[in-house]
Amino acid sequence: MTTLTRRPALLRWLFIAPALIYMAAFFGYPLVRNLLMSFQHYTPTTYFTGEAPFNGLDNWRAVLADPLFTDALWHTALFTAGSLLGQFTIGLALAVFFSRRFRLAGLVRAVLLLPWLVPMVVSAVVWRRILDQEHGVLNTFLQAVGLTDGGVPWLSSPSVALLSAVLVNIWIGIPFNMVILYGGLQEIPRELYEAAALDGARPWRAFRSLTLPMLRPVITVVLVLGFMSTVKILDLILALTAGGPADATQTLGTVTYQLSFLRLDFGQGAVVGTVLILVSAVFAVLYLRANRADFGKGK
């Protein structure tokens, strides 16, 4: 590591302090406040009286007894697992494909980033139109080629809506997975493949015994980052289904929003938020473990 000149530690901390204070206010404070609020009776009356009395485990009991919470937990698990599986598999396949050298490869790879850069709520609105049961172009297409008779109720049937949300989120996440995995693939020395080919390894064998092991650190980072961003998704679901139909797409994120900002029971919202933090914290530990290798290299 190069040093940017030695200087008194105090002076350096002056450079760091503003960012630290800001992070304390915008990340640290919400974490603590959220935990406290989960034990408080925090409702619209609070804004008149200014009082939010502590009510022990009342909020926790109420939320945990609500079947909506259990459903949301389950939906979140399905949504996250399904999204990661789809994004990662397709992202990896595309990364491998675009590692070949052919005309326009770089250009097409760049343009494929677009879905990831467009605001998520905008993508969700566009998909809501595409998935419309009667006028959506997906059903028009499926019927035209004879794959379905009637329109599939993509967003209006409780048994299909969560799957639709997963499909849309896979679409959103493919570019990110592809770009990071593509970067990882470029780091693998080409000679290894030549050596493997000399040893008579067929492409699939080379992929399994060479590519996947060499790519493992990158795979870990991609999956953990994907988990972190998927588990808390709100925009996509609100704009696509608003948690419906019949709460079929409620997740921990949407329930937190609903309890706090629609039912205005911030204490109960804080309970679900705290559960969301706990789930994220488990994976934060994994992330830091995955990142430790980078720190070692003095990055």
Binding site: T2, L4, T5, R12, F15, I16, L234, G273, Y287
Partner: protein
């Protein structure tokens, strides 16, 4: 190696496959544009805009033009706040042997994992007490948090590799620490600053959650919130909704064309969204 006919053929097949993948994955983007270009297309939409018109875009600008300006102002404000905090912090952290520096970098990484809705939950009550609900300043400060950890990590990784001798020389010539930072470190970090700024802009421009939760009136309404409400209210006029969608995707498209190299650098530099 000279391209043999077989090799060339395989290349052509690959290009064809790539274009097919592109067509499938970008179909929603095409459909957004196609719907926007077919005015009064309440229900039936043709596969191609045979008779394209800009009526929908006029409607979109009329109803959402103000929101787009709000988004622009908020996103630029967030970039300013974020870079003003991140650049000095990254500089301070880029130097070795700072006691506690490593834990700050760790903390920075962890903050990227705090769910936004949790932040909004606590921030709302704090904002209510401070009078920051429905204010540009409140939204700018909240949106700056979307890019800050990312910017610190990215800028620090860049500044670590700056040659210390140049700054050393400036200090010998009588510059103080702060002027050395402003006159030498910042200009040398230009590309990394642009990358961090672009991503912060995109994060803030895309923000929906803070826009939704920290605003109870229409005083401060970014375009993400605008299109969300638009869908609720005017779901019959999909042409105008899609035109708004197209307009709100413009920054992404522009950056993809103009700033491709920075986008690639940002994603490679440990990007998180």
């Amino acid at each position: 190696m000279l391209p043999t006919p077989a090799r060339r053929l395989r290349g052509a097949w690959n290009t064809a496959a790539a274009l097919l993948i592109l067509a499938v994955l970008l179909f929603p983007v095409y459909w957004m544009l196609n719907t926007a270009l077919q005015p009064a297309s309440g229900i039936a939409v043709d596969w191609f805009p045979s008779d394209p018109g800009l009526t929908s875009f006029r409607l979109a600008l009329e109803s959402q033009g103000r929101s787009m300006l709000t988004s622009l102002a908020v996103a630029l404000g967030a970039v300013a706040v974020c870079l003003a905090l991140a650049a000095p912090a990254a500089y301070g952290l880029a130097q070795s042997a700072l006691r506690g520096g490593r834990s700050v970098v760790f903390t920075t990484l962890i903050t990227q994992m705090v769910p936004g809705i949790v932040i909004a939950n606590a921030l709302y009550s704090a904002y209510a007490e401070l009078g920051l609900v429905n204010s540009y300043l409140g939204l700018i400060l909240a949106d700056a948090s979307l890019g800050l950890p990312f910017s610190i990590v990215l800028l620090r990784a860049f500044m670590v590799s700056l040659p210390g001798e140049v700054i050393e020389a400036a200090l010998v010539d009588g510059a103080n620490r702060f002027t050395a930072f402003v006159r030498i470190v910042l200009p040398m970090s230009r590309n990394a600053l642009i990358t961090a700024g672009l991503f912060t802009f995109l994060f803030a421009w895309s923000d929906f959650m803070f826009a939704l939760t920290l605003n109870t009136t229409d005083d401060v309404k970014p375009v993400t919130l605008g299109i969300y409400q638009f869908v609720g209210a005017h779901v019959s006029d999909w042409g105008a909704v899609m035109a708004t969608a197209v307009l709100s995707a413009v920054p992404a498209a522009v950056l993809l064309v103009v700033a491709q190299k920075y986008i690639a650098a940002g994603i490679a530099g440990g990007s998180v969204k």
